[in-house]
């Protein structure tokens, strides 16, 4: 399988990459290439120019100065293994550790993953649950977009042509437990449904919760209903049932499905996996 012909260039700075983007209208960015290249091989995607940003300095590190900053070029494997991520956002370590397989995780990047916005991919669900911000550079300067707003629809994100994702911030978010759980598709390993839960506890009761769902829906999205049902509860069975019911309601208009995993099934499983996520988060 050969992609259609293209030119290739490898800038060494974000500024240089931005200039290349503005000079070449249909150019595409290449980082790990693990979303783009398979599509180009199948000729489902093409570009006259690939701008390889994978060696730009400074986009590949993880730092923790109160909030967690993950460079866009960090690979899934690096994030999964990061002590900083494991301590402040363990669900993201879990989710990045479930992307594809070891070979894919070694080279696929978080920036590329969120830009591609496959609804069944694992990390976006966690980023939405943790109120992450996507940091973007463009010709007109930089901006930061909340993950909930960034993921707009199937493979559609708030990223203009000419813009580059440089890092992802996960604000300091003290919590008493978090988890990401998923039902993997038996072939692709993508999420049939993936749930991320972040729990705040006050003694025996839940003082607040963030709940995000992916896989079952067109985009990673929060469930205000489920969060409300968990808040103030003791995370008992009745509260979990109510949260599951609310989650299913919240996603009713955003479901996706296929012949093996129809929409209705995914909707039900979102409820089941919500309960499992709460339990995995220590609830």
């Amino acid at each position: 399988m050969w992609p259609a012909e293209f030119d290739y260039t490898r800038p060494s700075s974000v500024a240089e990459a931005l200039q290349l983007l503005s000079d070449n209208e249909d150019a595409k960015l290449l980082a790990g290439g693990h979303s783009l290249l398979p599509a180009m091989k199948l000729r489902l995607n093409e570009a006259p120019l690939l701008i390889d940003i994978s060696r730009i300095e400074g986009l590949g590190s993880i730092s923790n100065n109160g909030s967690l900053k993950i460079g866009a070029l960090c690979t899934h494997a690096e994030i999964a293994a990061s002590a900083d991520v494991q301590s402040s956002c363990s669900a993201l370590a879990t989710a990045t550790g479930m992307v594809g397989d070891q070979q894919v995780r070694n080279w696929g990047t978080l920036g590329g993953n969120v830009a591609h916005a496959d609804p069944a991919s694992d990390p976006p669900t966690v980023l939405v649950a943790f109120d992450a911000n996507i940091n973007i550079e463009g010709a007109s300067g930089s901006r930061s977009v909340a993950a909930s707003d960034f993921f707009m629809d199937l493979f559609t994100v708030d990223l203009e042509p000419g813009e580059i994702i440089t890092s992802i911030d996960i604000p300091d978010h003290p919590h008493e437990g978090c988890a990401y759980v998923k039902m993997p598709h038996p072939a692709s390993r993508y999420a049939v449904v993936g749930i991320c839960v972040v729990l705040h506890r006050d003694g025996g009761s839940c003082s607040g919760a963030h709940v995000a769902v992916g896989g079952a829906t067109v985009r990673a999205m929060r469930s205000p209903g489920a969060e409300a049902a968990l808040r103030g509860s003791s995370l008992d069975d009745a509260a979990l049932d109510a949260a599951a019911a609310a989650l299913k309601d919240d996603i009713a208009n955003d479901l996706i499905g296929d012949m093996s995993f129809p929409e209705a099934y995914r909707q039900e499983m979102a409820g089941v996996y919500l309960k499992r996520a709460v339990k995995a988060a220590g609830g």
């Binding site: 399988m1 050969w2 000729r43 038996p186 072939a187 296929d258 012949m259 093996s260 099934y265």
Partner: protein, 797 residues
Amino acid sequence: MAVVGKAVKRKEDPRLITGEARYLEDIKLPGMTHIAILRSPHAHANIVSINSERAAAVPGVIGVFTGQDFMDVNPLPCPWPAGGVDNNLNTPRALEVEKVTHVGAGVAVVVAEDRATAQDAVELVDVEWEVLPAVTDAEEATFDGAPQLHENAPNNVCMEWDCGDQSGTDAALGSSDVVVKQRLRNQRLIPTPMETRGCIAQHEAVNGEYTIWMTSQAPHVHRLLFTAFIFGVPENKVRVISPQIGGGFGAKIFMYPEYVLTTALSKKVGRPVKWVETRSENYIATTHGRDHVTDVEVGANRDGTITGLKVRTYANLGGTLSTVAPGIPTTLYGRMLSGAYKLPNIYCHVTGVYTNTGMVDAYRGAGRPEATYVVERAVDLVASELGMDPVEVRRKNFVPADSFPYEPSGNLLNGLSYDSGNYDKALDMALEMTGYEDFRAEQAAARAEGRYLGIGLSTYIEICGIAPSAWMFGEGWGAALWESANVRMHITGDVVVTSGSQSHGQGHETSIAQLVADELGVSMDQVHVQHSDTLGTPFGYGTYGSRSTAVGGVAVWRSLQRIKEKARAIAAHEFEANVDDVEYVVNDEGVGVVQVKGSPDQSKVVGEFMGIATSAAGGWDLPGDMEPFLDETAYYDPPDCTYPFGTHICIVEVDAETGNVGIKRYIAVDDVGKVINPMIVDGQVHGGIAQGVAQALWEGAQYDENGQLVSGSMMDYAIPRADLLPSFELGRTETPSPNNPLGVKGAGETGTIAATPAVVNAVVDALSHLNVRHIDMPLTPSRVWETIQSRSNGGNS
């Protein structure tokens, strides 16, 4: 020092673990060109026009061709129509000319200097299509008003075929205590050998000879089809070579349009032509397997005795016929429906149907997994209806160990008989390995906690060593099925075996060498097994149907006997003894010697330099008019097939909340007759189990209503992965086959044949307390979950 029966490491492995083996894609020839094929995006369409101007203008393109350019090449043959009935045959051409009947049918080809250019240019071939309505379900395709694929096949029926005793079975079902009816879907599978198909053809204009490297499980058969059927040239004009082959599972037996196309193009462009299938092409252009819709009726009396089995099957054959497509759901399916049981009445009616889907042909078990699925599900349905333990129903109906040879009722096997078996023994061993009674207690306890554990059995038999030629001829097979082998002992004592079989993972180079080493008394290192090149090997029908040892191995064994006879005659001459007084023995060190009985000092090693090997090869002093060299060829056409059997037991846990099925344990006891290399046999069983489990739980080709293959890549079609499977627990009984001198039966397909019903039976067992009687495969989480939901709401199925 005998090596037969030992887990000898494989001789073929060093080249495979170092990357030195040469598969088809690894071969380059000087001046080689590359092609890309334009395939139909429509399941059913007329070709209105094809314009190749834009493609032809791409730099590096050598030529663009359509079906009109190959009208002098015959359509592909179908040498196995269903036996004894009329068949409405429709086979593909190198490229289709007027219409296409499935997505992926080739209609144009670009020849270019390199593969990327060919791929670029093929996108510029413009085809005008007249799209027609499509039908993908075999039964629906026979309904009035369904789209018609071929003029000569009204209602899309290729053939109607039956076997067994219709009136007897109807009468038996009418007078049985209970009759259970069930519709069973045996879904379509995509073979997916890890290596896709490919072909490199070279034509020498000066002598009109083709050399064809191709991914073939049966190089001699491919040559036969090329010469006698497709090009109409003598046999010596085509040489077929199978290089290292990366798995076949049946899909590499057949003649395909691309092989014909590549070969014809090599003559047209006067340069070698290479075609290597992409995985995307593989899923739409290589044959699929299974795809049956079956209504089964099984009758039984209250004591568990099965009185009759009636089977009505629609077999989906695809848009056109692959090479042996009609033979698979008829002979290899219907004739096996007695299973391991002494069933007094059996009847089977099969309708072979064209639909707008990819071609369906033999795949990993070929007809026998489908039959075993019907029989083993039917037995469980009886057990469930009668409230009996499925183990007891099986025991009650087994062919007793003292009844062999056993001929199934109603002339089901058309004159053949099961060779040997002890079905209770394998069942006993498997039950003991499992701890069956303990499991039933564990299951009850788990149920009380809301956990759904289940156990499923499959006490299967299969038909292997597919042959006798005369019998298969009567089944419609248009050729023979004997095998041949040549054994030569060189002047140094090294032995070269050439065989018409073809190894694509089975380890022939090792297991045949073990046979030779023991029989002749030479070391494993001295034996060299060669196969897969029609120029250097005797004719054989190839490797499939677990036949290479049971048929091809016996041809080797016969050659070895002739070598030994000749060695004795030479020794008698040298010792000035009577040949009847000379014996060929393999001594305690494993060395083959010829010696005069009773006088050990008159003895000579056979397989060494200056041994009998050298006497024979030198030819300086041979008796009478004896010809030089230890070089013997033998043919073998067996009197009957072989009939391996066994018991597989699967334990599953169904996640009640999600419907997800987890395999907790898998126990397999197989009896494949005498075992030459237990390591290789176990490996064959492991792989087969994985496939059988995967059919039950994950795999399934899905078409949408327009005939588009939805599961068209590995992203969607679930090939089993390591993390979805447990380690398997294997046991073995050994009941030799009396049908051949080696006592072997065949081991290539037992796992695939046995595993699928064992898993489905286990899942149904796990849900039996919810009155679940059957769920169609694949048992995906959503399907199982929906069943649980409907049952929990008080329904039935």
